[in-house]
């Protein structure tokens, strides 16, 4: 086998491999622990989410999209889940009523998974946030 410029190519490959695996070396080869999610007393008492946990974990973004179209565009504000229970279709008044500890629930997982800050809270009220936290100075920011 012939390999022209073998030295350069091999050096290049080594550098590439080193760069590519930096995050791994940097982390000392360990994966970071998934932070523990906390449930509010209210959620614990309910014992279940609007849909089974696995589905919620995977599909809650899709469910929220469906909820928003159902409530806003179709005027359908009662959701009967596959578990047979009925819920009012509302991010602010239903999801966040049970998960009112947003910082220790939604935010914790999103932070770990690298989901960027949700713009939903520009309009929907964040249960953990008092009005005083809002845009500190003028409204032109």
């Amino acid at each position: 086998m012939m390999l022209y410029d073998a030295g350069k190519i091999i050096a290049g490959l080594v550098i590439f491999a080193a760069f590519f695996t930096v995050p791994f070396w940097y982390g000392g080869g360990k994966t970071s622990e998934m932070p523990k999610l906390e449930l509010t007393a209210q959620a614990r008492q309910a014992g279940q989410c609007v849909e089974p946990k696995e589905r919620m974990r995977q599909d809650h973004m899709q469910l929220l999209d469906d909820w928003r179209d159902a409530a806003v565009r179709d005027g359908n504000r009662t959701y009967t889940s596959s578990t047979g229970k009925s819920y009012t279709v509302s991010l602010q008044n239903t999801c966040m009523d049970c998960h009112s500890n947003k910082d220790k629930f939604c935010d914790r997982c999103h932070g770990y998974m690298g989901v960027s800050q949700l713009y939903c809270w520009d309009c929907h009220l964040d249960p953990t946030e008092e009005k005083t936290v809002w845009a500190s100075t003028d409204g032109n920011s």
Partner: protein, 270 residues
């Protein structure tokens, strides 16, 4: 291998046919209910329904209550409508307009002489033929099929303001500033917050929604409920026996700029 081109094409053809006939391919070409869930959506029980919601505003009851702003305060507080403190940036769902401005086409008549400067309560007319809906490029503003309410899907608003140019009634306001912000004196634009309803953010348009969220809960619009003088009446224009139809039968009423062909759903007793 004794495998000529003729034979290869034959086998390929047969395989393709067999493949098409298979169950997976069938479902690919004819998507069915592969993943049907048993979850479902419905309107709330006890919600108020109509074919075409409408309002009659009795100015003979309203005008004597000089300075009263109960309807406006209630609406703006419940919907987290900010007060930016200047007329240029004002966000308006329901407000007062001098008769001469609200009804310019009546200007030349003697009626106008009496009413010229009188403040009239105005809001979105929930037109049957709404120009704002026609111009919206994202369908953020739409007319509800079920009851004719002209409302907004805030999630789709891109802030282009075509609707503001199209609306002949000034019923739409743009958020030039962040409603959650504060003015130069450090006072918040939102004095009080209703935690059950969202705010808006900088860069979207907003308007009166005839309280769709309250109708869904079986409640009348906030302004109607707030008026202690019975000047605002809400009901179904398509129902012969509704209170609004009763009033329209018995009183002479006018609408704002009907000559434009928008077919407003808000009527005024003058």
């Amino acid at each position: 291998m004794g495998f000529d081109r003729r034979e290869f094409i034959k086998i390929a053809g047969i395989s393709a046919l067999a493949g098409l006939g298979s169950r997976a391919a069938f479902e690919l070409l004819q998507p069915g209910e592969l993943e049907a869930t048993s979850a479902s959506y419905a309107a709330n029980q006890g919600a108020l329904n109509a074919k075409r919601w409408a309002m009659v505003i009795d100015m003979q009851k309203c005008l004597p209550q000089e300075g009263c702003k109960d309807c406006m305060h209630r609406c703006h507080r419940l919907h987290n409508v900010p007060d930016f403190g200047n007329a240029k940036d004002e966000i308006k769902w329901i407000w007062k307009e001098a008769f001469a401005h609200a009804f310019p086409e009546q200007e030349s008549e003697y009626l106008a002489e009496r009413l010229h400067h009188e403040p009239f309560v105005v809001l979105c007319n929930h037109c049957a033929n709404p120009p704002c809906v026609r111009v919206c490029p994202t369908k953020a503003t739409f007319k509800r099929k079920q009851d004719g309410i002209v409302t907004m899907d805030m999630h789709r608003c891109i802030g282009c303001r075509f609707c503001m140019a199209a609306c002949p009634y000034g019923s739409r306001s743009f958020n030039w500033r962040d409603p959650r912000g504060r003015n130069a004196q450090g006072e918040p634009f939102l004095e009080e917050i209703n935690r059950e309803y969202p705010t808006r953010n900088k860069g979207v348009v907003e308007k009166c929604n005839f309280c769709v969220e309250r109708l869904a809960q079986g409640k009348n619009p906030a302004c109607v409920e707030a008026c202690r003088h019975g000047a605002l009446v809400f009901g179904d224009l398509a129902d012969d026996h509704s209170e609004v139809r009763e009033i329209l039968r018995e009183h002479y009423t006018i609408r704002r700029k009907p000559e434009l062909g928008t077919d407003p759903s808000v009527f005024y007793i003058v």
